[in-house]
C-alpha cells in the first residue's frame, strides 16, 4: 500500500512565520531597504523554511 504524504498540522506556525518573514523581506526590499530586507530574506530562506519543512 502506498502511504499518503501529509503535512504535519502542528508545523503550521513555522510555515506561517516563514511566509511572513519572507513577505516582510520582499516588502522592505521593494521599499529600497538594504539592511533589514536581506537579513529577513536570508533568515526566511535559510532558517525558517528548512525548519518548517523538517520539523517533526
Amino acid at each position: 500500500m502506498i502511504r499518503p504524504f501529509t503535512w504535519p498540522a502542528h508545523t503550521r506556525l513555522l510555515r506561517w512565520s516563514a511566509a511572513l518573514v519572507l513577505l516582510a523581506g520582499y516588502v522592505d526590499l521593494a521599499a529600497g531597504g538594504l539592511t533589514l530586507a536581506p537579513v529577513l530574506l536570508v533568515t526566511g530562506y535559510l532558517v525558517l523554511v528548512p525548519l518548517a519543512l523538517l520539523a517533526r
Binding site: T6, V39, V42
Partner: protein
C-alpha cells in the same frame, strides 16, 4: 519498506566532524585574502555590498547572503565576504567528513580508525588546489554552491538510511527545496539532481507513485527558486551594479512596470544567460578529448599546483596516485555501503563525465600551449570543476584508507598496533596541504586593490576611462563602490558597451564630486570644476537605438573640434565598428572639452585602431586622448612605437602607485592569464626609465629599470620585454564578454 541501516550502526560523528570543520576554517583564515582579487572577485563583492546584480544569471541568493555578510562589524567589507567563502568550504569539509565516516562505519569497527579516515577526506577535500584557492577569497559564488552540494548530498545519504516514513518524506521535500535554492545561487545547484533521482529510484522506486509527495517536492523546489524575484525588485532601484537590468522600470520601482512583459523577458534572459549565446551541446567548442583533457589538467593541479611547471613529473605521479585512489575508493564505497553508493556514484559521474560534456569548453587557457590559434577560454576554468574535485577527494580518501587497511592486515601485531604501525601511509593525504600552500594561499595579497587605485588615479578628476575586460574594470568598480575611491571617474568597459543595458547604466550614473583627499598628490592644489552635463548627450531611447554594428569596412574620418581621427575598421576586433566602438566615439564626441578622456593601457591596440594615436599621451597606466595632437617638448616625449609620454605626470603617478611593491611582496604571479597586469607596471617602468635615461637622469632611470627587472623576475614576464625597445603591455583578457551580433563576412 524497511531501512537498510544496521541496528547497531553508530550515530554520525557530528562532534568530530565539527572539529574537523573548525580546523579547516583555521587553515582558511591563516591563508585568507585581506582584500579583493582578480577576475570576478571585485564584481561579486561589489554586488554584495550594493545589493546589486552581478552578471547573468544574477545569483540572487549569493547577493543576499553576501550582503548579510557585509553587515558584520569586523574587518573590511572584502574580508567579510571572503570569510563567507571560507565558512562555506569549511562546512563542506565537515559534511564530507560525515559522508566518509558513514561509509567507513560499514567497514571498520575501530572508531578512531574510522574518524582518522574521515579526517583524511576532510583534509583532502579542503586542500585540493581549486577548493582551497576559491575558499580564501570570494571569487564568485562557487563555495556557497559547493556547500549546498555537500549538504544536499548528506541529506540524501540520510534519506537513503531513514526508514520509510514521515521523516524521510520531509527530508525529500527539503532536498528538493535546497536544490531549488542552490539554483538561485548558481545553476550548479541542479548538479545533485540526477544523483538524487537515481538514489530515489534505486532505494524507494514507489516514491514516484506518491503524487502528493512528488507535488510537495516540486512546489518546494519552486519555492527555492523564488529568490530570483529579488532581481527585478532591486534592478528597479537601479543600483550601482545592475547587470542585465532585469526590469521594465526606467525611473523608479512601480507595480505596473515590475509586472510587465519587459521585466519578464529581461529577467528570463538573465536567468538563461542569453547574452552569452552559448552554442548548442551538439556544436562542440573543442574536441571531446580536449575537453576531457582540460578536466585532467586541472585534476593534476589539485594535488600539486606547480604553477610554473617545475615539478611536472611529481605532479603527474600524484595525479595518477589520487586518480587511482579515487577509483579504489569508489569500489570500496560500492562494496561497503551500497545504499549511499547509489547516490554518490551517480554524483561523481555527473560532476565528471557529464559535466565535461555539458560545459562544452573551448581549450583551457593553460592547456596545450603548443596549439596556436585554437579557440581558448579567456582564463583557466578549474573552478567550474570545483564540485568534481571536492567530491573526488572523498573517494580518494576512502581509497587511501583501503590502502591503509590492506597494509595493516599484512603486518605482524595485535589489534590497534597494526593500524598504528601502518598509519604513516595516511600522510599521503597531507601532500596537497604542503604542496599547494604557496600557490593556494592568498594571505597578504593586495595587488588587485592597489591596481584599482593606481589605474583610477591615472585619470584626472571627472575623467572617462575606457577599459577592455574583467581585470581592468571589476577592481575599479570595487574601489569606487565599496571603498569610495575616485567615484568621480566614469569607467566604461568596451566588452559591456555591446549590451543594451550598460550604456543606460552609464547614463544614469550620478556625477560624484572629486574627493582630493582620496586622490594622488599630483592633482592637489588645483580646482577641478564638476561637469554638469550627463555622460552621453543622447537619451535612453537614442542609446537603445544604436545598432549592434555598422557594415563599414573602409577607413572613416571621425571629427570633433580640432580632433580628426581616421578609424580603420580592419584594425577593430570585429573588422567593422560594433556598438561598443560607436559608443566610445560618442563618449569622446559628447565629452570633448568637458571631461578628460582616457583609454587604459590594458586595451592593447585600441588607441591605434580608433586612429587616436597622434592625440594619445601616456599618463601613468592610461593614455589620455587630447583635443590636439600631442606636442613634443621636454615634458611630453615621443617614444618610437608607443606614442607620447607625459614624463612628469607619469613619474609622479608612478611614485604614488602601490601595485609594484605589492607584487614584489607577494613574490610570484600564479594566475598566468592575468599576467598582463604586472606587465603593465613593468612596461610603465621601462618606458619611463628609457625616457629619463635619454634626458640624462641616469640614477632615476636605473632605479626604474631595476624595479622593472625585479617585477619581471618575480612574475616571470621578462621575456615579454626582451626587445630593443620598450614594448606595450599585452591587453587584458576580455572576460566573459557578451557576444556581439553575428557580422556578415566581407563580400
Amino acid at each position: 519498506m524497511t531501512s537498510t541501516r544496521p541496528l547497531d550502526a553508530p550515530r554520525p560523528a557530528y562532534g568530530a566532524a565539527a572539529i574537523a570543520g573548525v580546523l579547516v576554517l583555521v587553515l582558511y583564515l591563516v591563508t585568507l585574502a585581506p582584500t579583493t582579487a582578480m577576475w570576478d572577485t571585485s564584481e561579486y563583492i561589489t554586488a554584495a555590498y550594493t545589493l546589486g546584480i552581478p552578471h547573468p544569471p544574477g545569483n540572487p541568493l549569493f547577493v543576499l547572503l553576501g550582503r548579510v555578510a557585509t553587515l558584520f562589524p569586523f574587518g573590511s567589507v572584502a574580508v567579510r565576504v571572503n570569510l563567507l567563502a571560507a565558512l562555506c568550504s569549511a562546512g563542506t569539509a565537515t559534511v564530507w567528513f560525515l559522508v566518509a565516516e558513514r561509509v567507513l562505519s560499514r567497514w571498520f569497527t575501530l572508531r578512531w580508525a574510522r574518524l582518522t579516515g574521515a579526517a583524511v577526506a576532510a583534509l583532502l577535500s579542503a586542500t585540493a588546489f581549486t577548493v582551497w584557492n576559491q575558499s580564501v577569497v570570494n571569487e564568485k559564488v562557487y563555495t556557497v554552491s559547493l556547500a549546498f552540494f555537500a549538504i544536499v548530498s548528506w541529506l540524501t545519504v540520510m534519506w537513503c538510511d531513514d526508514p520509510d516514513g514521515r521523516r524521510a518524506d520531509r527530508l525529500l521535500v527539503l532536498i528538493a527545496y535546497l536544490i531549488g535554492l542552490g539554483y538561485a545561487n548558481h545553476p550548479a545547484g541542479f548538479l545533485v539532481g540526477p544523483a538524487v533521482a537515481v538514489a530515489v529510484l534505486a532505494r524507494r522506486p514507489r516514491t514516484v507513485l506518491r503524487w502528493k509527495l512528488i507535488l510537495a517536492a516540486v512546489l518546494a523546489l519552486g519555492l527555492g527558486l523564488t529568490p530570483f524575484a529579488v532581481e527585478p525588485i532591486r534592478a528597479a532601484h537601479h543600483p550601482a551594479l545592475n547587470e542585465g537590468e532585469p526590469t521594465g522600470c526606467t525611473e523608479s520601482i512601480g507595480l505596473k512596470c515590475t509586472f510587465s512583459s519587459t521585466t519578464y523577458s529581461r529577467l528570463m534572459d538573465n536567468i538563461n544567460r542569453v547574452q552569452y549565446a552559448k552554442p548548442a551541446l551538439s556544436e562542440r567548442q573543442a574536441p571531446l578529448s580536449a575537453q576531457a583533457g582540460m578536466w585532467w589538467l586541472y585534476f593534476k593541479w589539485q594535488w600539486l599546483r606547480d604553477s610554473h611547471g617545475s615539478q611536472s613529473g611529481l605532479q603527474l605521479v600524484l595525479a595518477l596516485l589520487f586518480f587511482g585512489l579515487g577509483v579504489a575508493g569508489g569500489v570500496v564505497h560500492w562494496r561497503q555501503d551500497r545504499a549511499s553508493f547509489w547516490f554518490f556514484g551517480p554524483l561523481i559521474f555527473t560532476v565528471t563525465v557529464a559535466l565535461v560534456y555539458y560545459m562544452n569548453f573551448k581549450y583551457g587557457a593553460s592547456q596545450s600551449p603548443e596549439l596556436a590559434g585554437v579557440p581558448r577560454e579567456v582564463r583557466d576554468r578549474d573552478y567550474f570543476y570545483l564540485w568534481s574535485y571536492s567530491a573526488w577527494s572523498v573517494w580518494a580518501a576512502l581509497g587511501l584508507v583501503a590502502l591503509w587497511r590492506a597494509l595493516a592486515v599484512r603486518v605482524q601485531g595485535e589489534g590497534a598496533s597494526r593500524w598504528l604501525t601502518t598509519a604513516p601511509i595516511l600522510l599521503l593525504g597531507a601532500f596537497p596541504l604542503v604542496g599547494n600552500w604557496r600557490d593556494a594561499s592568498r594571505a597578504g595579497e593586495t595587488t588587485t586593490r592597489e591596481w584599482a587605485h593606481d589605474l583610477l588615479n591615472s585619470v584626472e578628476p571627472y575623467g572617462i576611462l575606457i577599459t577592455l575586460g574583467d581585470n581592468d574594470t571589476f577592481p575599479l568598480w570595487y574601489a569606487q563602490e565599496v571603498e569610495g575611491v575616485r567615484q568621480d571617474v566614469t569607467v566604461a568597459v568596451t566588452s559591456l558597451l555591446n549590451t543594451d543595458w550598460y550604456p543606460r547604466a552609464l547614463l544614469r550614473r550620478p556625477i560624484v564630486p572629486y574627493d582630493a583627499t582620496k586622490g594622488p598628490a599630483v592633482y592637489r592644489g588645483r580646482r577641478w570644476p564638476m561637469p554638469t552635463t550627463p555622460i552621453f548627450s543622447a537619451t535612453i531611447a537614442q542609446l537603445d537605438s544604436v545598432p549592434e554594428y555598422v557594415d563599414l569596412r573602409t577607413p572613416q574620418l571621425f571629427q570633433q573640434g580640432t580632433l580628426r581621427a581616421v578609424v580603420d575598421p580592419r584594425q577593430l576586433e570585429y573588422g567593422v565598428p560594433v556598438r561598443s566602438d560607436l559608443l566610445v566615439l560618442q563618449l569622446l564626441k559628447d565629452n570633448y572639452g568637458v571631461r578628460p578622456f582616457y583609454i587604459a593601457r590594458t586595451t592593447g591596440g585600441y588607441v591605434q585602431a580608433l586612429g587616436l594615436e597622434p592625440y594619445a599621451l601616456m599618463q601613468g597606466l592610461a593614455n589620455r586622448i587630447l583635443t590636439t595632437p600631442s606636442p613634443t617638448n621636454a615634458d611630453t616625449v615621443a617614444v618610437p612605437g608607443l606614442g607620447h609620454v607625459d614624463v612628469p605626470r607619469s613619474l609622479s603617478l608612478w611614485r604614488s602607485y602601490g601595485g609594484p611593491a605589492s607584487i614584489l611582496a607577494r613574490g610570484d604571479w600564479v594566475d598566468r592569464p592575468s599576467v598582463n597586469i604586472p606587465a603593465t607596471y613593468i612596461g610603465t617602468a621601462l618606458i619611463l626609465g628609457q625616457v629619463l635615461g635619454q634626458q640624462g637622469d641616469t640614477a632615476q632611470a636605473n632605479k626604474l629599470r631595476r624595479t622593472a627587472v625585479e617585477l619581471g623576475h618575480v612574475t616571470r614576464t621578462l621575456d615579454l620585454f626582451m626587445g630593443p625597445e620598450p614594448a606595450p603591455p599585452p591587453p587584458v583578457q576580455g572576460g566573459d564578454a557578451p557576444r556581439s551580433a553575428p557580422i556578415p563576412a566581407n563580400p
